[in-house]
């Protein structure tokens, strides 16, 4: 498990697993698209618009997963002085932002047929949009503070403060939504999904994970190299 913490170990493992993960992600994506368009049935109520779910839901999960991992790495970097955490944060923030963007866009695309408008102040869409802005702030902070020593620690602190505030925002938006207009999708019960629709969802999630992983490996390697070369 050393590769999670030590840059050079990570490099060794990265060279070793990068190619297979990339091929795996291409395969999974092809399979996922095939399943979600041809092999899975229409929804009894929404017809074929439900297929957007196969992109929307995995990207939402991935966005939250990336933020959770970034929080763990920030704690490790600040409390246990593991510099690899800072490398991970600067490398993976854009990936999380892209996943959140995909989630927001696919969410509003899905909203058009179902609720009749491009953007609906639905609880989940709003809180995902806020998560996207928090990702943007992380990226802008990475760009705007020159001194690397300060930059990486301040970004880590911001991620931690953001991680505390995220559940509050998510929860208050849900609650506000019942005031503003009743929850169009009831937020409490987990959607009961028919098995035939579950398989494409799982495949697409795995595809997203492997794509995210391969990009993350690339970005982390470049970040390690850039830190070694310019000592700024």
């Amino acid at each position: 498990m050393k590769f999670l913490v030590n840059p050079s170990k990570f490099n060794e493992l990265a060279d070793y697993i990068f190619k297979p993960v990339l091929i795996l992600s291409i395969l999974l994506f092809a399979l996922g698209l095939l399943f979600s368009f041809y092999l899975s049935p229409d929804d009894y109520q929404q017809g074929s618009t439900v297929r957007i779910m196969y992109v929307h839901v995995p990207s939402a999960w991935l966005a939250l997963l990336t933020y959770a991992i970034m929080t763990l790495y920030s704690i490790a970097a600040l409390a246990f002085r593991i510099p690899f955490g800072f490398i991970f944060n600067t490398a993976v923030a854009p990936i999380g932002a892209v996943f959140t963007l995909i989630c927001v866009i696919s969410g509003s695309l899905w909203g058009k047929p179902m609720w009749g408008t491009w953007w609906v102040w639905d609880a989940r869409l709003t809180s995902v949009a806020i998560l996207f802005i928090i990702y943007l702030i992380i990226i802008f902070m990475n760009l705007s503070i020159e001194n690397r020593n300060v930059r990486e620690k301040v970004v880590a602190i911001f991620i931690l403060v953001g991680s505390v505030n995220l559940p509050i925002v998510k929860f208050s938006v849900d609650w506000w939504n019942t005031l503003h207009q009743p929850a169009t999708i009831s937020k409490l019960s987990k959607p009961s999904i028919d098995p035939s629709m579950m398989t494409p969802l799982i495949i697409m999630t795995l595809a997203f994970i492997s794509i995210g992983l391969s990009i993350a490996i690339l970005r982390i390697k470049t970040e390690i190299i850039s830190r070694k070369s310019n000592l700024g």
Binding site: P41, D42, D43, Y44, Q45, G47, V50, M53, M114, W115, G116, I168, F171, W175, T178, L179, Q181, P182, T184, I185, S186, S189, P191, S192, I193, D194, S196, M197
Partner: protein, 146 residues
Amino acid sequence: MSLRFQRLLLILLTLAIILSAVLLILYNTRENVSYFYTPSEIDKSNITINKIIRIGGFVENDSFNKISSSSFKFRITDEKKSIVVTFNGILPDLFREGQGAVIEGAFVDKNIFNATNVFAKHDENYMPASIKEDLKDTGYWNKKYK
């Protein structure tokens, strides 16, 4: 007291404050989360005429009739009580009999409710259309997926 002990004390204090704050928030939101009334709750709580409230329930089967291009009359029920609702405006495309709906408006008189807007409640079972067909043939459709 030594520096280390002071620091530990501060950390514990912060965690205690955060914990109590979280409990405070969770406790207080539990009370007033359920915000809209079901038809049977309407009688119990003394809802005055034209006080804006929201009612949630199912659109009663074959109670839906179109008065004009944009005004409709239907009944909302929760199997115990049903309320006559008049509404003029555009209905969301998911609005159908037997489907969940939440309406917002006020009572015009004792038992007619004039809705200002209607929200189609999308019930969350994702189920292939094909299964819906053969369930319907076996007549099993309504009871299970009401």
